[in-house]
Symmetry: C2
Subunit: 729 residues, 2 copies
Amino acid sequence: MYQSIDFKEYELSNKSEEIVPIESLNYLSTNYESLDYEVIENELYRKEEQKKGYRYVVQKDFSRWMTFFWIGVIVAFIGIIIFISIEIGTNFKFNMIKKYFDNCTKKDCMVKPYLVALILNLIPSFIGSCLIVYVEPMAKGSGIPAVKCFLNGIKVPKLIRLKTLIVKVIGVITVALGGLWGGKEGPMIHAGAIVAAGISQGKSTTFNKDLGALNFFREDHEKRDFVSGGAAAGIAAAFGAPVGGLLFSLEEGASFWNQALTWRIFFGSMISMFTLHSVLSAYHGHPGDLTYKGLLNFGKFDDLSYHIFDIPIFVLMGIVGGLTGALFCHLNIQLFKFRKRYVNKDWKKVLEVLIVCSTTVTISFLLILFTSDCKKLGLDPINHPIQLLEGTVQSLFHDTPDVFNTTTIVYFGIFAYFITLWTYGVHFSGGVLIPGLCTGAAWGRLVGQTIFHFFPNTNIGIYSLIGAASQLGGITRMTISLTIILVEATGSITFGLPLMICLMTAKWVGDFFSESIYDTQIDLSGMPLLAWDPPPLSSSIYANNLMTHPVITFKTKESVENIVKTLKKYSHNGFPVVEYVQNNELDEGKTLCYLRGLILRSQLIVLLDNKVFDGPLTNYWDSVTMETFREDYPRYSSIEDIQLLQNDLKLIIDLSRFMNPSPYIVQHTMSLPRIFKLFRAMGLRHIVVVNDSNEVAGIVTRKDLARYKVIRHMGKISVTELKFSNKME
Amino acid sequence: MYQSIDFKEYELSNKSEEIVPIESLNYLSTNYESLDYEVIENELYRKEEQKKGYRYVVQKDFSRWMTFFWIGVIVAFIGIIIFISIEIGTNFKFNMIKKYFDNCTKKDCMVKPYLVALILNLIPSFIGSCLIVYVEPMAKGSGIPAVKCFLNGIKVPKLIRLKTLIVKVIGVITVALGGLWGGKEGPMIHAGAIVAAGISQGKSTTFNKDLGALNFFREDHEKRDFVSGGAAAGIAAAFGAPVGGLLFSLEEGASFWNQALTWRIFFGSMISMFTLHSVLSAYHGHPGDLTYKGLLNFGKFDDLSYHIFDIPIFVLMGIVGGLTGALFCHLNIQLFKFRKRYVNKDWKKVLEVLIVCSTTVTISFLLILFTSDCKKLGLDPINHPIQLLEGTVQSLFHDTPDVFNTTTIVYFGIFAYFITLWTYGVHFSGGVLIPGLCTGAAWGRLVGQTIFHFFPNTNIGIYSLIGAASQLGGITRMTISLTIILVEATGSITFGLPLMICLMTAKWVGDFFSESIYDTQIDLSGMPLLAWDPPPLSSSIYANNLMTHPVITFKTKESVENIVKTLKKYSHNGFPVVEYVQNNELDEGKTLCYLRGLILRSQLIVLLDNKVFDGPLTNYWDSVTMETFREDYPRYSSIEDIQLLQNDLKLIIDLSRFMNPSPYIVQHTMSLPRIFKLFRAMGLRHIVVVNDSNEVAGIVTRKDLARYKVIRHMGKISVTELKFSNKME
């Protein structure tokens, strides 16, 4: 009965892995693992369910609400820390510069304040970039693409560690103090995700601490739900937009819509916004006043009325936003390639940040020097000492028509576009949201001022707002969540339609030429992101063509030796458990290999680690529970680290007690769209393909589905098969 | 080869159908069919896909957007028709009454105006109730429960017919003119759903017209998507709340979240709101002004600030709302039972409406007579001639503290609660949303005035608003969508947290005692609604226990005679297609029955209707296309109506060309939660259960899953197995 396993050689079939440079497009990396949202309903699971009963259900539900409450509170406090640190730091900085300004009024002594400003900006930039480059590169940028991938079901290493959070928070503060063109809104999303993952799991890998609490949440699908909530809370804190946060989470993360989860996400977002508003109001001397708006504040639009004849103008502005956005994404790829080739050493990366910082400071000074009204453009340290970029956006939205002359805005717009482009992608911890809005607000205002020239009743602010939305929409292609974030930030529901029209136009025009900046980054990293829908016209691709085969399988009662050997030889994460029915009466004494379940590598590791072996002296059934498996989640030992005695190897593990006894299966004739929908809707990691007689024929995983990539270019749709590579940043 | 089918007798196994009175709870009706959201990827489908190519994909996508645009516009125009009709009618009515009032000033001659008012209210009430009772009973009430069931996947007969729409629209107008306590907001949701279904299908059963356009949308899943959009557009028009509309659709309808669909629903809602605002502004003499708010207008809250110490008060108010809401639902069931017993004839139903109407008018007059300030309670015809209930809500929200004395509000509150209760459920076309808000606003204002008595700085309006939300939340248990509808209607994001807190409390408290009013109605109707999540602790219920078996199957090549006989004998809607592999070498010459696909009753009917038979003289392969099947959607002939020649019966149909070749299958060991999730996420109608050797073992349908009902009562959770009955209203 306990015969040796049949080691069919695993062949990579048509999936040759190439070693390709990181900047190559159209390659999927094989280095990313998937998350697994399946609940394994094995005997242990049922035992626990029956033992704990309905009270356990209620208790778990209550813990979920409490966890979302604390996620909201802590995310808000991170926002508060960032805000207050920036406020104190910027005040100090500008006071220093002001002193030098005040001490010399002649034009030729601008040099001293310039140098002081330069140094005061370079120091935080240097600290921030060193942290990213040398301590935790995962904290780079906004983190939105990585969070998106995580919610999609990809295991992104180090994404949700406490260390990443600390570097990110300090990084965001240094970015603002360094005067770099990066927003703190994207990073707040990433920070929210980390907080949520940390709180819900009750343990920290960075500190190697396990509180032992909330361990019933130690499953991928529970963690994902909390991370969705954390990201939403981040947006709620950053923009004062809880509904926008909720919709962002759904837009990027959800697949199966769950009413209760949505309600909890919304609750967490509300708590986050409420906490931030209360504390910041109190900090600014108005305790109990809850009118303080989020980290970002667009100011109050007195009048957001528009006319029918404005609609074509908004559409045109959407087109401009889409075109410039697509150009932005295209140039970003070129810059990425350039950087991979020439900025390939750590010190060069830090140097680039310092160069960007110096350039920003220098041009800002030159703009102040040569144009009379640039102080108004937020470069004025007195009016907007706290939030440089946000202040600029506010000025562009609200100032009266006489404040800016056209030339200044043109110069400023060009500067904004290119400095945003250059800054996005250097090693710092900031996002593109606010710089994008700022750039768009500049050219939007230009449109407004031009119209004002002919129709003096024009409200310039709305054009500035539409420009901002169009530009950001063209770059990020965010649709519904961005509309609602902007609606919430401006507080006008009626203005939702124009915003939607320009964002939709910007998205369509942008998609005509390129992918969004986030998807571009995901493509470059080779992460196997699954789209919302299966590729069109793919119903003649069958499970047969998709699956990896032959499959490495285990028998229901398998020898420890075979398990260890297999795990050492193959890196697979899921193994079908089969039963061989040797029926000599069938043709040629054929052995049928019937599927009995699916066992995960992580489960096998835990079983080996805890020596859950069937032997004459063992009676493990009472000592092994669900807790045994939860303890090690999510980072399990490597098979190489497991020490076994020679005697152990001869024992048996009864896999039938631990495996998932009824994994979702598909027939070999099932088409790609149907498999895709099943995989996406159920958040699967493995689908077992069976043939007509229910024998295991193959396995389909995320990479097999993600390789069919839909390319929409110049109005044409096509489907490309991506190649596999080993690239990873 | 073409042997006769093996007619295994279909046994109802443990599912005895009882004949039970309609008011019995805990029975599932077997009279409702399910919708089927699966795409049948048979040979015809692939042929069409390959023929039409990517251009077809783009074209279909464009048509979707255009359809959503028109849904938005037409839903808005229905709102406009309702609004303007009510405005004209009410103006006429109140001018008449005013004339009689003005003509006699002494108190004792109130009789004449009273009688005039009574008659002017009774006439429209009579017309409205006759329409519902004699013309189209499906147009009764708000329609929200039925739309919810449709979106859940239940085929509700006559729900989305043009006739129902016309009766509904006229009904809503008569309700408002008859002074009945019913809102027009719920009906707008139903109207939106009908409009969406009608436009997207390009045909009308009522008029027997087929435009032949948009026939690629003639599938259940496409129709459902449009209906979601229509319901959302209805809310957007009714409340000026496009985001709330979107979230309502998702809360009630969605299972698999789809980004593109969400975006289109939002687009349709925006268009609907925008159209309604533009046209109504123009109608009121302000063309181009887009500040006009939806059908419902809460008025502008100047100040919605609140303090920390208000939160416990809001929670207490939420508790009151939950308690009174639960009582409301409980009494509603009693009333329902009473009506089924005593109001069982058509004329009695009309009579009840007339009695309700007379009572409403009489008490309103008495309130005016005996309390000095009741004119302010919206019963004043001069200030709020158009929207009686809405006007009352506005007064309760905004009027200064001195306007109402406490006694008046107490009387009014009691009146409001009971008249709402009585009116909801009579045969008229109005919803509970506004009456619920009005009742809550009354006792909320009472709370506010009490607090004002001690703290004269109190803003009474916010308590009134919280009371309104709590009451409605307690009755409907709507959570996230109601929060956002109220946030949008009041225009204050900051006040979202208090609203959420009181709605959440109201829901929790209400759920402690009863189900929501909508779910109560669904229970009473016996519709097999599937919840969001599978019942807890049910992982030891297996497919084996759930499925219906033995199954009626067809062979891949089946004789016409057998098909006709089977369809006449059994009412099933899906039949597994199998192949019998007679392997004499196996034990006892066992025949294995391998699954090859699934064929629907509707497909078989179309095949029989079009005589798609394999015979010596037929070559149908080119003439049968997807269009053949779409033409008859969604109402197919009955098997009894199909006329076949004796010769036809001897022919064969090759089912393998038309069947769904790879239906989703589950193993007989799969647990209820896993089957439930698959069923819900993929919108299935049938799941085929296979045994270990891939033989067809049974079929699981909606009713098999819906019968496990979770009862949450008094803080305890339990799972009840519902019985089957034949009840249907």
